[in-house]
Symmetry: C2
Subunit: 471 residues, 2 copies
């Protein structure tokens, strides 16, 4: 097996039109051979890519540290998660390509039925807009790339400007290994630059796009994907406030424990998770624990990912704290980024639901509620989110049933007595949700069902067995 | 059980804003109770609706005859198909709501895993734009309505102006039966008028829309659905030329038999099927059978659905026959609508691929090809289609493999030695395809997977069993 040493200083300049054309020509040419490699062949290539990524961890982590300011332990975990995703999706593809079969039946209702064999085809070249906040798991070899490759789709990654050298270095590790294991040239390519990304999304050779990032940028790209002469699916994960509800009995009996979990979750990675619990609904009958206020005050968080995110956090958190009805509960006094805990009440939220916006970074808003009715009403104003969290005791069942009904309409994942920032890579995962959490609420970008996004069904009617695809 | 007698003269005037608001208020209020009715409860309601529809056939058929000019036998079959769909989708919902479960695993890779239970939720109120050409099967109680109801979604049907009285009469048969079997008021409602349809599509209470109709109208509605503040899935089936290929050996040995099948398929229902084989690729080495020309000449077809479709057929077929390189092979001399068979060659198609457009009505274009290379090239210019048909003998295997590869990229269903106008309602059906056949190539509007369009996945993390949905 080839071992490739990444070049820590290599980067990409903005992709030109001619380069873009060459990238898509190669990707389009890779479609047939990559499909022909088959599920097992691709699984072996993905396994090898995972192994290569693990082997390259010591070389990649310093580049990632420098470009993203994320701590080493987190990056090490993220590499392992990314490798695991490559392996798991490679295995799961055989399930995703599932076949439905109706035998011919001359006596069928309402009419004689031919034989039908329904299988799936890779949807085409996938354009993957990498994220800033997960430089491995949602980037060059991340969940969108892994799921598209498992489905048999060549991938063009629009690299994120926040980690250009890491993007190239990761590609240098993964791409040659894929090729050494039978994937055609053009299976995985990188492009750079906002304008190149837009032109890429308009290229007729693209069959689907995936995106993880901001509401504003994601919506602009979604609009472009829909306006194409031939529209394509655009799987965008855009923004999410992730409400968490603490029921009265749980708040009264184990408020400190819940507060500690909340603090850890909303400040994890300096709050730069799309699943960060940004809203904490807390009963007015129970004081917000002093332990939460002091944990925030004493926090010492690492630097944010980049200057744009730092500036965005300043703007959004300042607007939020200056909002009528919002007060500062606590803020940290040290650290490279400052944790911020704000407070308001459900009545203020009901009076002005637009005040609840996602604040990407280490800030959260505690919303005090008087009773179940006010809680449910205020929760009902929250936009679509990736997650909704409930902390409750048996004594809280009546209120929980009402909260659950409202949350189920608004989120992709309900988290019980736990926190949403961990996103298990599994069959049963759902990482998505009603808009603006995702542009397509029918799909997930994490977990084995992520593969489904890149498979198009096709039926074969009376087709002889020798011509049927073997998925 | 209530038996409702339809009122053959009742119709709807264009829905006003106030009426529309009331319709959506009722539909939104129906969401909870309809979901709570459960899969089995809804199945019983759908079974009863199917039975009522069958019972009302004698009352409905004369209205349909008058409004659509479709023959009685066809309408009778379509009612049975529609009833069967209601029953089959009701049964299949339990499969569509499938659950994935990951048990908690503290030793899981790459991190300890919580319990995950992934289920589905009805996506919300479904807006169904009914079609002109299937006044039962793609209308008030048709496949979109049946699949949405099976998924637990209330349905608002934008009735088609081509059969207003039949729409009301069908609703009068079906809606009371649904209600008598536990569906809440607001489960199924009708609206009328183009402007009301557009306003309905913009209503924030709509969760998804389905459409069967023209490319122009469907694309305009798709664009509106995408441009909403909260975009929604728009499942449109827009247009399809449905290429059919006759391989050289098959043409030489059983050309008359194939020609007879082709004639029957492209003139079925006076050519007003979205799956009509509009293109016939025929080898230059074999003369087009005289039997085909005489069948077309002697055809006596019924009137087209309405004046707009008649005018559209005149315009499109005239443009096609006046196209350079296109000649008239045969046309019928009698009948209320005139069958038309045109001819061109693959070289002309390659020189001007835009000449191939869908012509809704009893017209088809024979494309003569010199060899496999020219066939494959010409086929490669055909836009996304619902179906692709192949007639071939064992001796044609080499050419078939190449044709199949091109077709699989372009169609939703491959039909072998058969014709595409029959669309079996089954698990393995795929009625959709790459754009413009459908706006979402990942979905089907016929067959039990049609239900998937209206189900949104949701994951439950560590949620106690008593709060988990029972699908």
């Amino acid at each position: 097996m080839t071992t490739t040493t990444p070049t820590p200083t290599a980067t990409l300049s903005a992709t030109t039109d001619a380069e873009l054309d060459a990238v898509f020509a190669a990707a389009a040419a890779a479609r047939g051979p990559l499909a022909a490699l088959g599920i097992d062949g691709r699984r072996r290539a993905l396994d090898a890519a995972a192994a290569a990524l693990r082997d390259a961890a010591e070389a990649l982590i310093p580049i990632a540290r420098e470009e993203t300011h994320l701590p080493e332990g987190r990056l090490r975990g993220e590499i392992e998660r990314t490798a695991f995703q490559l392996e798991l999706y490679g295995q799961a593809a055989s399930t995703a390509f599932r076949v439905d079969h109706d035998p011919a039946d001359a006596a069928a209702d309402p009419a004689p039925r031919p034989e039908l064999y329904r299988s799936h085809r890779p949807i085409g070249v996938v354009l993957n807009f990498a994220a800033s906040n997960f430089p491995f798991a949602f980037s060059v070899a991340g969940t969108d790339t892994a799921s598209a490759l498992a489905a048999g789709c060549p991938v063009v990654v629009k690299t994120h400007s926040g980690h250009p050298r890491l993007s190239v270095a990761t590609w240098q590790v993964v791409a040659p290994v894929l090729e050494a294991h039978g994937c055609p040239p053009g299976t995985l390519a990188l492009i750079a630059g906002t304008q190149a990304g837009i032109r890429a999304l308009q290229d007729p050779r693209v069959g689907a796009a995936a995106f993880t990032g901001s509401l504003k940028g994601g919506r602009a790209l979604f609009d472009i994907a829909c306006a194409r002469p031939t529209p394509i699916p655009f799987y965008g994960e855009l923004g999410s406030v992730n409400p968490a509800v603490v029921a009265p009995h749980a708040a009264a009996t184990r408020g400190d424990e819940i507060a500690a979990g909340f603090f850890a979750s909303f400040t994890l990675g300096a709050g730069q998770y799309c699943t960060k619990p940004g809203l904490l609904f807390w009963p007015e009958s129970v004081p917000v624990p002093d332990s939460l206020l002091s944990a925030v005050r004493d926090a010492s968080l690492h630097e944010l990912l980049n200057e744009r995110i730092t500036a965005g956090f300043e703007d959004t958190s300042t607007a939020l704290e200056n909002h009528p009805g919002v007060s500062i509960l606590s803020r940290s006094e040290a650290g490279a980024s400052r944790a911020l805990l704000l407070a308001t009440d459900a009545a203020s939220v009901l009076a002005d639901p637009a005040s609840i916006v996602e604040c990407f970074g280490p800030a959260a808003l505690v919303i005090r509620y008087r009773d179940g009715a006010e809680l449910v009403d205020a929760l009902g104003t929250v936009e679509g989110s990736l997650t909704g969290t409930i902390h409750a005791d048996d004594e809280d069942d009546a209120i929980v049933r009402r909260v659950l009904g409202v949350m189920e309409d608004r989120v992709g994942r309900i988290v019980w007595d736990d926190w949403p920032t961990g996103v298990a890579v599994a069959v049963g995962q759902q990482h998505g949700g009603p808009y603006p959490a995702a542009t397509s609420s029918l799909h997930t970008s994490v977990g084995t069902h992520a593969i489904d996004r890149f498979l198009r069904p096709i039926a074969y009617q009376n087709v002889p067995e020798r011509f049927l695809p073997v998925p």
